[in-house]
Symmetry: C2
Subunit: 190 residues, 2 copies
Amino acid sequence: MSDLRQQILVTAKILLIKHGYHGLSMRQIAEAVGVSKAALYYHFKDKEELLLAILVAYLDEIEAVIDQVRAEGGDSRQQVLLLIENVLSQPAEKRALIRLSSQEMAQLSVPARATFDRAYHEKFIDKIRGLLRAGMDQGELRSMDPDVATWTLLGMMYPYFYPAHTADVPPPADVAEQLASIYLDGMASR
Amino acid sequence: MSDLRQQILVTAKILLIKHGYHGLSMRQIAEAVGVSKAALYYHFKDKEELLLAILVAYLDEIEAVIDQVRAEGGDSRQQVLLLIENVLSQPAEKRALIRLSSQEMAQLSVPARATFDRAYHEKFIDKIRGLLRAGMDQGELRSMDPDVATWTLLGMMYPYFYPAHTADVPPPADVAEQLASIYLDGMASR
DNA sequence: CCTACCGATCGGTAGG
DNA sequence: CCTACCGATCGGTAGG
């Protein structure tokens, strides 16, 4: 992986967060990096491949966060708290990327969307669902549709993936506590 | 309000949901309506004003839904259930617009964003927060930061504002029940 | 003079 | 990786 490729990814990621896929031009990226537009096309087949590289690289980071939470042990309820804390304490830029993943998916071509969707579920959704399902099996969480449980947890964090809420800093730690408290009480086994 | 203006709004709304702001051209809208591009510019100063008109018109619909829920009475916990049921049973197109509102806000110019932001809070966020705060004052909901309570409720519904989840039909009624159950148990007074 | 458009084209920029 | 371009399309506006 060349230095320039890395530099392109870093710069393009920042611009993508600010402008979205269609609002961002290859010309713009090239100028920000300080290279010609052709240089971008040397490293990435087209605009879509560049977007995909940014998003998939980020999915790897998310996966690492989730794996770390699961490895740190504790029961599933502690893991949910830890997950919320870890996700919300990410820098605003990283949280924005989670939102962009689902948001810009619709802009992808059919094959690219299929590729991304697979990684999105494998590295992100399925991992969280696995954590929650384990908690249900252990009787630590109430038994319900694991998909609804997963998307509810993600959804609760979603507002903090928008710039409007973040003001470019992570939300205070007590927001994570409040979210965890609502979710865990709502998901308590009965 | 002329017929053509209405027709433009209806058509542009559908295209906006599919393509997003930057992915949608005035040309495309004009062709879909069956008029010239100049006709669009007769009714709307520019592309941004058209987007704004679509979103603000939809905020009025949301406001009506919330007002209706509050008018139907019942305690705040019943109103939360009713709100979730009503929002999730909206057609996929309407739910997609809620997501677009927050999503495309970032693409607006500074003055346009200020205008929209005011309407967004007045007709949507503040109404829900008012409902929840009333519930807290009555002791029907646990006392906590009303903003966190509001965004948690909205966030839980967010996944169902994405096409990936909706498959163009409303989620089954028991999803609304499950969401309400998690939220209301998590928000139960203690 | 008006409202409600039209066909054609402007200067720039898109992805490649 | 660059310079020099392309076919097409972008948002917006001219005169009538």
